[in-house]
Amino acid sequence: MQKRPRYGLYAIVALSVLISFFPIVWLILTSFKNTAGIYAWPPQYWPDPFTFENYVSIFTNSPELLRYILNSFIVGVGATAVTLLLGGMAAYALSRLGLRFAGVLMVAILAVSMFPPVSLLPSLFQNFLNFGLLNTYTGLVLAHAGLFLPFTVWMLASYFATLPVEIEEAARMDGMGFLRIFLTIVLPLSWPGFVATGLIVFIFSWNEFPLALVLMTQNAMRTAPVGISLYPGEYAFPWETISTATVLAIIPVLVITAIFQKQIVGGLTAGAGK
């Protein structure tokens, strides 16, 4: 239709992008400043000198910050795997096997997903202490699985609802058991749904704070958000280290979001649309 250039639109888009992005840009710029540059007044809008010394120093002086990131990976991957396996089976049963209580269970799952995580802390801390699960990957993976299973079940159930039932019915005619149908037919057919859900759960787990804070009390077991937040506790806030560690800790989620933007957006809006 009209070909008039829309400067107004582009101006608003540019402004939105700028507002969304400048804190991250400022963080990255800060990580390339030396200590004098970070505490300079007026602040340096561009690092002078531009230096990699903070990154080098993390690898040589603060390896615990790298350990936090490794912990986040282990917990994130574990929580995603457990959640997809259990949640996938539950979602399949609730959306496909005609259980009489399926509707009630779905609403109940939605309701418990709104529980405030801090309400779980006194009990979880005590039970994890008694069962030796504090400061273990198993413990936090289990806690994150509980936290994110409701979301997973809802998302995958809505995904299964879009698949045709005929193939499964044919397989059942051939005498295949449900577990085999689930593993050999449903899983391969619905991998886009699993990928989207898994990515979102991984991001959720990577970002989760209250449970990771309380259930991992040893410094070496902390996840990235918690470890970086508590890092300054020992002396004055070392922004040069903090900003650099933060950059390293957000790179994984930024990369995942950038590569799988479509799947994540699709998953979030499908999950929310139910």
């Binding site: 992008v17 539950a90 309400s119 779980l120 006194p122 209250p210 937040s229 903090i242």
Partner: protein, 296 residues
């Protein structure tokens, strides 16, 4: 006949088998802890079990009702929610309308807008705390150098500014999430509705208020629910931005509950705080679940 019965029974059994692991994990991690918190809140005990549980009735709740800091935390939580959600909604609708237009570089723009959502809130809070810093922060540099302010603004240390500063971070992070959900609704509105409107000589504004908004009611409700539940539970944002300060001006209910348990080490009183918090949020969530069920 016998065969179909068997099949039905087998289906039901398999279904139960498939659902059970999820139900067990949810029961262990989400449901049992709430029940245990209720029990703990009516008694006196120690975290490691060295002091046996002793029933004390409503003592902790009585303390709580007379505790000014608890009422403050409740007020902070509701103020934070009431301030941030309408702003997020307005910006979310604006961003969604923007992303619904076609222009070059749309994919990149959408990605940039999505980034704040993907970052850990705890680290977002740290990034902003650094920009708000009254000695070295970016905002004060810009304000002072441009002449907007003649002395440093203490964004996080001033009781009247700290809440606003915290709301800005929340709005920055989550407006994009609102936008995504509203955008999905926007894209499902049939194009011919707008064409019909244009035939009737509707202005852009009339189109928006009479066609777009009414059809977006569902997605907007969902976005509001998800976001306000999050805002009512907010924890790591004040934890990392202000630690609840200054003088508890940003101490949310979650942060207060955490401090009661792990800073004051008053385990049973802390349990009473989380039970009350749970009841407040659960009441809201029930209202929402029913609102959703009656949506269609």
């Amino acid at each position: 006949m016998n065969r179909t019965m068997n099949l039905e029974q087998r289906t039901a059994l398999t279904g139960i088998g498939f659902v059970t692991p999820t139900v067990i994990v949810i029961a262990l991690i989400l449901i049992y802890p709430i029940i245990q918190s209720v029990v703990l809140s009516f008694g006196q005990s120690s975290i490691d079990g060295s002091e046996p549980y002793r029933f004390v009735g409503l003592r902790h709740y009585a303390t709580l009702m007379g505790d000014g800091r608890f009422w403050n935390a409740l007020a902070v939580t509701f103020t934070f929610t009431a301030l941030s959600i309408p702003l997020e909604l307005a910006l979310g609708i604006g961003l969604a309308l923007l992303m619904n237009e076609s222009f070059r570089g749309k994919g990149l723009a959408r990605l940039a807008v999505l980034f704040p959502w993907a970052l850990p809130t705890a680290l977002n809070a740290l990034i902003w705390r650094w920009m708000y810093n009254s000695d070295y922060g970016l905002f004060n540099a810009v304000a002072l150098q441009s002449g907007l302010a003649d002395r440093p603004i203490n964004f996080l240390g001033d009781t009247s500014l700290a809440m606003a500063s915290m709301v800005v971070v929340a709005v920055w992070k989550t407006s994009s999430f609102m936008a995504l959900i509203i955008l999905a609704g926007l894209q499902s509105i049939p194009r011919d509705l707008f064409e019909a409107g244009r035939m009737d000589g509707m202005t852009k504004w009339q189109e928006f208020t009479q066609i777009t908004l009414p059809l977006l009611k569902g997605p907007i409700l969902v976005a509001l629910i998800i976001r306000s539940m999050d805002a009512l539970r907010t924890f790591e944002l004040p934890f990392n931005l202000t630690d609840g300060g200054p003088v508890n001006a940003t101490e949310s209910l979650s942060l207060y509950a955490y401090k009661a348990i792990f800073d004051f080490l008053d385990f049973n009183f802390g349990a009473a705080v989380v039970v009350v918090q749970f009841l407040v949020i659960f009441a809201m969530s029930l209202i929402y679940v029913f609102a959703l069920r009656n949506k269609d």
